[in-house]
Symmetry: C2
Subunit: 203 residues, 2 copies
């Protein structure tokens, strides 16, 4: 008995379901950083939930007038391209440069699974995040950088120690947080200083 | 050197960070259902990402006038109480009944980590989801029920086969989907019928 017998094909819902099935793969893309208890590495899907929820929790630290609902939407889709392109460790500059083209090709494939205008709308959220020109994108990016700092601070250095990252490198990321959310940047800076003082991060 | 030296205490941000650290635990609450490729069981955090993203992708199937942004917010927080109360298998009625009090106690503890009015606001989203009286809550609940059906359909019966669930039991959940989103309910019904026809779900 063919699938067509039961499920109507060639309509918008069919395309949306194909996209829904595809994006389930985000749960299997593994990031470098650890859960807050250090028990295992995090995947992109749970990371995306975490930062989208942080946008609700920490929204008042965004500049006045920031559209937090667009921030949440952006964070829900910001890592989908990694289904094809994989996760890139932000402290590996060679990998970061090679990633740009791979992510663009991934966006071409994945968002095109959706009905045309809907795929374009979700893709534009991803592009906005990447371009970091709007307050929404800068705040979203700040949260994306803030979360691993919080996790590393809670795991005695976590990936900083594992991959021999220095405080100077982390402070570059702190500057991105400050650009998107000054008070979160100040908080992240304090966490980094405390991690150095405790010997969990080398200077 | 004490923590107080670096990080200002007793402000809103400190409480919000305590909440942020707490909710990371959602990544370790394991649900019954499997990923779409059957490789492992899903956790609550990645499930929450998935259904929140489905709300964006399938939003046009909600009744006209549904506030999709509130649906997304609701789905981001809907499982936080399971940090204390654990996941309940929806086909186990005894466990479902016992769960109500445990979840209420969990909500009392977890949302209270936030500044007062913010904790009350997020808690009310969870309560709205549980009460299923608004179109937003019914649509959110429909997505929460739709996702496992899609996953079971893609894993040759998945948890239906593992836990000997029948089509009649699944159809009760399909009715909840129909209440929140008629076209998704019809689609889910077709998936269930197809699963029965293929022998992946017993009648």
């Amino acid at each position: 008995m063919s699938r067509v017998t039961f499920v109507p094909a060639e309509d918008r819902l069919t395309d949306q379901i194909a996209f829904a099935v595809e994006i389930d793969k985000l749960k299997r893309i593994i990031r470098r950083n650890l859960l807050m208890d250090g028990s295992r590495r995090e995947n992109d899907a749970e990371h995306s939930w975490y930062v989208a929820t942080l946008a609700m929790v920490l929204g008042e630290h965004a500049p006045a007038g920031t559209d937090l609902q667009r921030v949440v939407a952006m964070l829900l889709v910001h890592d989908l391209v990694e289904i094809d392109a994989g996760d890139t460790f932000i402290y590996d500059p060679v990998a970061v440069a090679a990633q740009v083209e791979a992510e663009r090709a991934a966006a071409d494939r994945i968002f095109a699974l959706l009905p045309g205008e809907q795929g374009a709308r979700l893709r534009s959220l991803w592009e906005e995040f990447e371009e970091r020109e709007t307050p929404e994108a800068r705040f979203a990016r700040a949260l994306d950088r803030f979360a691993p700092i919080l996790a590393n601070h809670h795991t005695e250095g976590g990936t900083w120690r594992l991959f021999k990252v220095t405080a100077a490198q982390v402070m570059e990321k702190v500057r991105l947080i400050e650009e998107g959310a000054p008070s979160l940047g100040a908080y992240a800076r304090a966490l980094v200083e405390e991690s150095v003082a405790k010997g969990h991060l080398s200077e």
